[in-house]
């Protein structure tokens, strides 16, 4: 019954919001990844894949984050790059 209330209540408890936000920001803090390094990574990734595929630069997302199932807190480099055409 208690859980049901929690489910119906659309606004999550602020402590959970705090926890989630902290977890996310600490991955960045701990990875020690400067914006410059991320830019460099982006540039290199894109230049190496551009030989093989046409990608859509307007809708891509390259970031350092953590995976949902990994509780170790180790940072993960995630790149989501929509492909328009494969060059064969």
């Amino acid at each position: 019954m208690f859980d049901l209330f929690g489910f119906l209540n659309s606004k999550p408890q602020s402590k959970n919001v705090a926890k989630d936000r902290l977890k996310l920001v600490l991955v960045h803090d701990r990875s020690n990844c400067s914006p410059e390094l991320l830019e460099l990574l982006k540039k290199d990734i894109l230049s190496s894949i551009s030989e093989h595929v046409d990608y859509d630069p307007s809708d891509m997302d390259i970031k350092i984050t953590r995976t949902h199932d990994d509780e170790s807190g180790k940072p993960v480099l995630v790149a989501s790059i929509p492909i328009k055409n494969l060059k064969r």
């Binding site: 402590k15 705090a18 926890k19 936000r21 902290l22 920001v25 701990r30």
Partner: protein, 265 residues
């Protein structure tokens, strides 16, 4: 040979100085010889929190620059003869002392004290580097707020980089009512995020404000919950195993305090 413990937090205003004063006094109550050092040069505060502000003659900069001997600068707390304070300089800046001088000073004080507590300034610059220079162990103080927890995480990283491993965590100013409503992170949440071992939880308590106003550490007050929390931390520092106070049971909350207090005697 004593042990040096730095009390640090990263963020300002989370209660480092109050914590240092109270743990220092609590350790002295346990019969330990304690020296507390105010390493916040330029923003001297430990003296006023402890009620010793009118007795300062020399300060830490005078000691490291050879103006006086350590013994001359130490202020003995008249309430316990085991407790003394080495005050910060108020008119100099953080660069007036360097890490090597701090190390030497602390080594010296460890010969005549069981515990040397260093009240670290906020921030991660020179003052922080000085304060941790001679420390064997570290206590990280945080409050259940995102800013304080984030800074604590950074500090834990820096402590480990400086090879002060396994820092222990104090969660200060916990508001039990808000935790119950789920509107404040609880101790377990903070432990999960920071992944360090807890050494104490101090509830948000008016008594701390009132006793600091008077310049007497809260540990003097037998009836105060925060005072008891600090006394427990001191006992844990000495290696004793002490159960954590339970703040979670609403119905018998007052009962619990009374019970715990009568056990403590």
């Amino acid at each position: 040979m004593g042990e040096a413990i730095v009390v640090t937090s990263g963020k300002g205003g989370v209660g480092k100085t109050t914590t240092t004063a109270n743990i220092g006094a609590a350790l002295a109550l346990l019969g330990k010889r304690v020296c507390v050092i105010d390493a916040d040069i330029g923003l001297r505060n430990l003296d006023i929190v402890m009620g010793l502000e009118n007795r300062i003659v020399y300060d830490i900069v005078d000691v490291v620059t050879g103006v006086c001997r350590v013994k001359q600068a130490l202020i003995r707390d008249k309430r316990f003869e085991n407790l003394s304070l080495l005050p910060a300089a108020q008119t100099k800046d953080k660069n007036a002392v360097n890490p090597d001088q701090m190390k030497e000073l602390i080594e010296d004080l460890k010969k005549t004290h069981d515990y040397v507590l260093v009240d670290c300034p906020a921030g991660i610059e020179q003052g922080f580097k000085n304060a941790i220079a001679g420390a064997d162990r570290a206590v990280v103080v945080t409050t259940p707020e995102v800013s304080a927890v984030r800074d604590a995480d950074r500090i834990i990283g820096l402590l480990e980089a400086a090879e002060i491993s396994n820092p222990r965590l104090i969660v200060n100013r916990l508001r039990v009512d808000m935790v119950k409503r789920g509107e404040m992170m609880n101790v377990q949440d903070i432990e999960d995020i920071l992944a360090v071992d807890l050494i104490g939880v101090v509830p948000d308590d008016e008594e701390v404000v009132m006793s600091t106003n008077r310049g007497e550490p809260a540990v003097f007050k037998d009836q105060s919950l925060s005072g008891m929390a600090f006394r427990n931390i001191a006992r844990r520092i000495t290696g004793e195993e002490v159960a954590f106070l339970e703040f979670d049971v609403q119905e018998s909350f007052l009962e619990k305090i009374k019970k715990a207090l009568s056990f403590g005697k």
